[in-house]
């Protein structure tokens, strides 16, 4: 059973999730019955935690190009499993412990990697352009939803984060309050209009209209609909499916 560690929210605005191999050890049985309890021994790594590539082991000595590809695959898998975050999230106890260990001369692997990255960063210059959120062609700036110039400048620090959060909440609350006020005005106008109706029509107007909403009401989307696009996609899908049937 995998256990996700919840880091306390200290100064950072988000919590991070860190998987390390020692968490994949099965500590208790999962099924609600006593079936299979005999098989589970404490401290045993789960079978599915190992990524075994039998191909690589048997074919490596025989065929060279296949072996190279599988070793690339293994290397990629190893890279993925060993991937680390650019900034490590450490609690104050951990920071103190690391400082003490450095005084004694012991440096953990992650700390060593961090030191290397800091050195690399000092030599390189930072990329100044704003980071792209989302898929490259369809993010909000290129689509014209946001004016890139009007975005306030900020650094990735806690104080700037707090300032941005304050402005964000201010803007949204203002809009919310305006919307609530407008809606209550609408209701008030409707009530006044119903009061102003003559008696025979007032009864009909007060009857709530319970017919269901129209199903084909168009919902606003990011970009406007392209005429004929839907049919093109359907055609292409039909053609590709026909091809597969022939095979």
């Amino acid at each position: 059973m995998m256990r996700i560690i919840d880091f306390k929210r200290l100064k950072s605005l988000s919590s991070s999730v860190d998987f390390s191999p020692h968490q994949l050890i099965q500590r208790c049985s999962v099924s609600g019955t006593s079936k299979g309890k005999a098989k589970v021994k404490g401290g045993q790594t789960l079978k599915r935690s190992k990524v075994s590539t039998k191909k690589g082991k048997t074919t490596e000595p025989t065929e060279k190009p296949k072996g190279r590809r599988t070793s690339e695959y293994e290397k990629m898998v190893r890279d993925c499993l060993d991937a680390s975050a650019p900034v490590r999230h450490l609690k104050p106890k951990e920071i103190a412990r690391e400082a003490e260990r450095e005084k004694m001369g012991l440096i953990s692997k992650e700390r060593a990697k961090e030191i290397e990255m800091m050195k690399k960063k000092k030599s390189e210059s930072e990329s100044g352009s704003p980071a792209i959120m989302g898929t490259p062609g369809l993010d909000l700036i290129t689509l014209g939803l946001v004016d890139a110039e009007k975005i306030p400048k900020y650094e990735l620090t806690v104080e700037d984060g707090r300032r941005l959060a304050k402005e964000y909440s201010r803007v949204l609350m203002r809009k919310h309050r305006a919307r609530q006020a407008a809606e209550s005005t609408l209701l008030r106008l409707k009530k006044e209009a119903i009061e102003a109706l003559p008696e025979n029509l007032k009864g009909a107007a007060l009857v709530p209209d319970l017919t269901p909403f129209p199903v084909n009401r168009f919902m606003a989307t990011l970009t406007p609909p392209i005429e004929g696009h839907f049919e093109k996609i359907n055609e292409a899908a039909r053609k590709s499916s026909v091809k597969e049937k022939l095979r």
Binding site: A83, I151, G161, L189, P198, T223, E244
Partner: protein, 226 residues
């Protein structure tokens, strides 16, 4: 609050000799989501980048694996349509493709009821109430006379959404005060529309609508949100 109409300050209770007109506020809902405030976007970007700092960076070749196209997949690249259409650039008020992120309201120009001296005037589609069942049916027939049929319209609720009491001032024509009730109805599922029975029609946004009716500007401001 009761009986206080917003154009004239008369507090009458309704008498049956008043002329009642049902008019329709026909709107096209926005097709595209509205622009995002830069402050909001800045905060979202900040929180995204802050979170990315603490996330594992997988090797690029692993992330690019999803770009490989499988055999038999149709290779149509999606090019999104622009949000500012040509109707926007040419400011063609008759087309429905104009302000895609805002609501558009229909206005007609013809010899309206209650207009001074029968001159063509900009007004909402309307009809005088004459002993039909409900006022909403009167409004529906008003819209029907303009559009032809009601298949792509949806009337929101049985009750009107606002009323205006118009006192005739200098005119010899109508000596009776006029009560105009507005009904809300929405356009569904079409892009083009054929509008007959009037000299001219326009699809306008809220700001332009306020220009067309300068005296009733604040009432319309309250009745129409965006």
């Amino acid at each position: 609050m009761l009986g206080r109409s917003l154009t004239a300050a008369r507090g009458f209770c309704t008498s049956n000799s008043d002329k009642i007109v049902a008019s329709v506020l026909f709107e096209r809902l926005p097709v595209v989501i509205p622009k995002i405030d830069p402050v909001v976007y800045a905060f979202q970007e900040f929180s995204f980048r802050w979170g990315q700092q603490f996330r594992r960076q997988y090797p690029d070749e692993f992330l690019k694996k999803s770009d490989a196209r499988g055999k038999g997949d149709y290779q149509i690249d999606y090019v999104p349509a622009p949000r500012v259409t040509e109707a926007d650039k040419s400011n063609d008020k008759r087309s429905l493709q104009r302000a895609l992120d805002r609501r558009l309201y229909l206005l007609l120009c013809s010899k309206a009821y209650g207009a001074p001296n029968g001159k063509p005037v900009w007004h909402f589609p309307e009809k005088v109430y004459e002993s039909e069942e409900t006022l909403r049916k009167c409004a529906e027939s008003a819209l029907q006379s303009v559009l032809g049929d009601l298949s792509h319209t949806y009337f929101v609720g049985n009750a009107p959404m606002g009323h205006m009491v118009i006192q005739p001032t200098e005119n010899a024509h109508d000596l009776q005060p006029l009560k105009r009730f507005f009904f809300k109805s929405q356009l569904i599922a079409t892009n083009k529309f054929k509008i007959e029975k009037c000299d001219d029609f326009v699809w306008v946004t809220k700001d332009e609508l306020l220009e067309y009716f300068p005296e009733q500007a604040d009432f319309l401001n309250k009745m129409i949100i965006s």
